[in-house]
Symmetry: D2
Subunit: 328 residues, 4 copies
């Protein structure tokens, strides 16, 4: 391929920094994350509580804000440099989806706000507050924070999964304007119904799947991960006995083969717990794996895949379908 | 920080593509990798055999070449684009360490050869042969290759670890000329004695540690990794019963906390098997963790760390010290 | 409780020694056990092949015999002593289910044959051939046999699970005549539909579940176990890619919480692979846990339980229902 | 073998019921078990606190009693029946080691007290209080107690390991008078220096090793076990960060190949945490594996074995040697 024609990858967006979720039961939601996943409350301001997992490097990876219905508040991405932030803000503005600059929030500096074509609120930022002084990195125990002694402590934020009335359109925006790389995609009768994208070597920092009711800007789930797959069985026992609804038991994803489970936090948002990092992709010229939905159905019969209940394919927040939650 | 003064990261080098090791017992070395680690022989040419693990994407991740003594042949890095290859070749030439272009080898196209300041042979390349057609990515089983039914099959190449008469000098070269990010470093009385660097989000694709005998260009070890930590216990039993020398049992590294074990392949090169990916670093402004060796000694008392034998700190290939290998 | 009235437990039957299964495709069946589960062929005689897992202590734990349809050949139990064998043979004869003495078979001495009330063939034996001389126990590696370098080697035989037209009747026979302890039981409208029993501290060496078609003497499954739960994922990948039918993916049982998976060997018999020992019971006065089937249905919603397909509840060998096996 | 000459096994002793340890820092000791191992305090009486792990079936598996120095209080064994209790009490009395009957303690009824030849206090009992009503066994969640939400909760008591001035003499007593089966043994120049014995199918409920200082009745360690090996790494991180001394990191025993780690509770007693059950023995005619200490030294080089520090071989409670504890 000619050097002159090859399109170079864009590395301006570096990582998922934090996610804000909305909850009609904020105290129960915060209690879920602190008591069972071992997250630490790092700040509380107005209707919002800021939380981090014990290996998250920054001030917070999660912001829980009280709202009349569950759903997504916003998603924050950290850029690779201040120059990257400037370049992407210009590109987003040119794409007509920019909302402009804010002075930032607790834990980070100025941010450029924008939305996906489906209306999911996002922001880009560079200046950020670390959860510990870098000197702490030097202490022999070599951990950002001590392992909390409650719940089955999650290690870090991993990715966010959205529902979208037009996944193809948002996929194109994330690729062309923000520089995300498309990893896998599901197509149904020629229509893109699900995409997984990342800016790093993990399989996905974001996924978008088809929302069929027409409701825009929905959240499918937020994922935290554990280094140890077996921890998910410890967590499943803890959550089950504390009456947290478990939608899918610990198992392996058919696509990324990541070890996972799905639960609903008391506010109604779906939370995924991962037992390892998603499939790693180091190939700089990765060709997306495109599945036809008919193949996918076979994949879900793949015994390496979890048998996901129907709710997995229809339920998101804000809830737009009545959703029968199993009770025990 | 001012946009004008911030030094942007360099993403030209994308990943570790393959490593060539030298062996005085090439058939036994190949047998070790194929029978116990489940690698597949993909080509054989002259004194060399080409091998890949079942999830390696490219034609080969390992080249074993017959030589009078064990050691490193060369290390190949894939760039992020053809333009990246061009830019780095110019920078290396300017640094005075370039060897010039080759037409490539089985499994990849033209490459730019160079050495580290300590003389380790390396090359940069872009055009590469995939181990399967991309169409194969589409098959429902969603694997590059079937899991081999022999040994305890390693999933992929992970990193390479060198011995170097001046680790600080090579660290500076890898950072300034190739764009590697420094992750952690050990200092002894102000002298850099070990560095871990990466171009991706894993903790290290390369590490350099102090070689005290003055011998240049030595190899400390090559690492392959498994998705499942427990696999290392299966492998340890298999290798022990087949009289492969195990230098360090399955355990956790004190620094990256990666699950690992160390063995010597029959040619004499040290091979590390990892039970998970190294610690992941997503922070684009990561500050290297710098340890004083006195702290390190405390770290090795960390019960999360493997009790490494003295040979770990002195043995490399080509061997420059008589090295008492335990026999059973 | 009065010493005079307490019924002392009967320890005459010590363990499950081996199981004979019937296969219409004996070569493929043997190939399944040797290539994928790593069993070793220890003898071949007439229409039968004898096999053992690498930690089985005796000559064989499995006998595969050619037959026009799949199913159970017989189940052999080893007694705690020669006196125990004598006592039980008298008790069985008195119960009217004895078939009398045989001279034994390859790998063991004289045995007393009998059937369950449902017609499953069983035998009791004492004299048995060990898979290695006891001196071998002394070798430093401390293993009965080396870990085979093929498949994902199972460690040992664990238990056998039968289908029975009257589980309550057979449960009573196993308890009263052979001295088995009842561990758990499922009751449907007052009728016993499943029982788990053992003579050792594991949760079950034998289970019997309701057969609804009237066919007597059926086999539900045979179980081999692994020390390492994660091995089941390695095995699932290997079997899936080699087109072995996987009925239930690696997961946790709702009752014993044992890590398990279910597959069909090429002869049609269901084989269970366990990732750990079943729940251990040390209480000498253990009260059986009795479930009403309505509770059970809740248990199968327990997210610690595998979502078992309908075939699990209906399919056994010989097959008496047409059984739609998913193909990939 | 003739029925008339074969010595039948004795099944009168069924299981390890509980252990009493002594502590000069009882509150810190109790805090260790409740906060880090998740044990529950079930009673408190005088200078003693009673504790149980969440899957222990009885009122308590551990009794912590204040004392001027650390060590063993007593070991309680439950018999297989009231008749078994009567038979063993007569046999012990005949052996001259009986202390007579007590009315029992919180959580159990009358017990027959006795000592080992080395003076370790033991008792046999039958009537015992369960930690939950048997009806609780019926609730769908199928657990004795909920998983505690603190520490890394241990599942159950596993075994006790003693130091003894004459291991051979105590081994003989446990075999001949109590009916324990000898599983493995280490011999040094013809002298028995360590024995592992059990009454159930686990590798050991009790082990005795050589005490060289002449101090009688010492405790080497007490073991609790986890279903999940990986939990030991979670626990190691928690304990390390809370300054509990870890003597041996998570690793595999050379002999039983059980996954284990060793720590000292704040009272000074060594506690072992197991990541799985010990090697299971179902063979009713098991021949003990006898190691010469010279072989053992090779076993400790076995890379499947933990590299145990010297303190493992010399330290017990009450401490009779000054013992350098590593500090961090």
């Amino acid at each position: 391929m000619s050097i002159n024609t090859y399109k170079e990858p864009n590395f301006d967006v570096a990582q998922l920094a934090h996610v804000e979720i909305l909850s009609p039961n904020p105290e129960e939601t915060v209690q879920f994350f602190t008591s069972f996943l071992g997250l630490e409350e790092t700040a509380r301001d107005g209707q919002s509580v800021y939380l981090r997992a014990y290996e998250d490097l920054y001030h917070h990876s999660l912001k829980v804000t009280e709202h009349k219905e569950a759903g997504l508040g916003h998603i924050a991405w950290r850029t690779a440099s201040p120059q990257s932030l400037q370049r992407r803000s210009v590109a987003i503005q040119a794409a007509g989806l920019g909302r402009g600059w804010t002075d930032g929030d607790i834990g980070h500096g100025r941010a450029y706000q924008f939305t996906t074509p489906d209306g999911h609120m996002m922001e880009l930022l560079w200046d950020i507050e670390y959860s510990c002084s870098h000197d702490l990195h030097k202490k022999p125990l070599h951990t950002v924070s001590k392992r909390p002694n409650r719940g089955v402590p999650a290690n870090r934020l991993n990715h966010v999964h959205l529902m979208d009335t037009d996944p193809g359109r948002t996929t194109h925006f994330m690729q062309e304007v923000l520089g995300f790389r498309l990893r896998e995609q599901m197509v149904d009768k020629g229509i893109i119904v699900e995409s997984s994208l990342s800016v790093s070597d993990i399989f996905q920092e974001i996924a978008v799947m088809k929302e069929s009711t027409g409701r825009k800007g929905k959240l499918h789930h937020l994922s935290y991960w554990y280094h140890t797959p077996q921890n998910l069985y410890e967590l499943a026992a803890l959550l089950k006995e504390n009456e947290i609804y478990i939608e899918a038991q610990p198992n392996k994803h058919g696509i990324s083969e990541t070890f996972c489970m799905f639960v609903y936090e008391p506010g109604g948002n779906r939370i995924e717990l991962l037992g390892d990092v998603s499939g790693m992709i180091y190939d700089p010229a990765w060709q997306p794996i495109v599945w036809d939905k008919t193949e996918m159905s076979r994949t879900r019969h793949n015994l390496m895949a979890a048998s996901l209940p129907d709710s997995y394919w229809s339920y998101g927040t804000p809830a737009t379908l009545s959703h029968p939650v199993k009770t025990y």
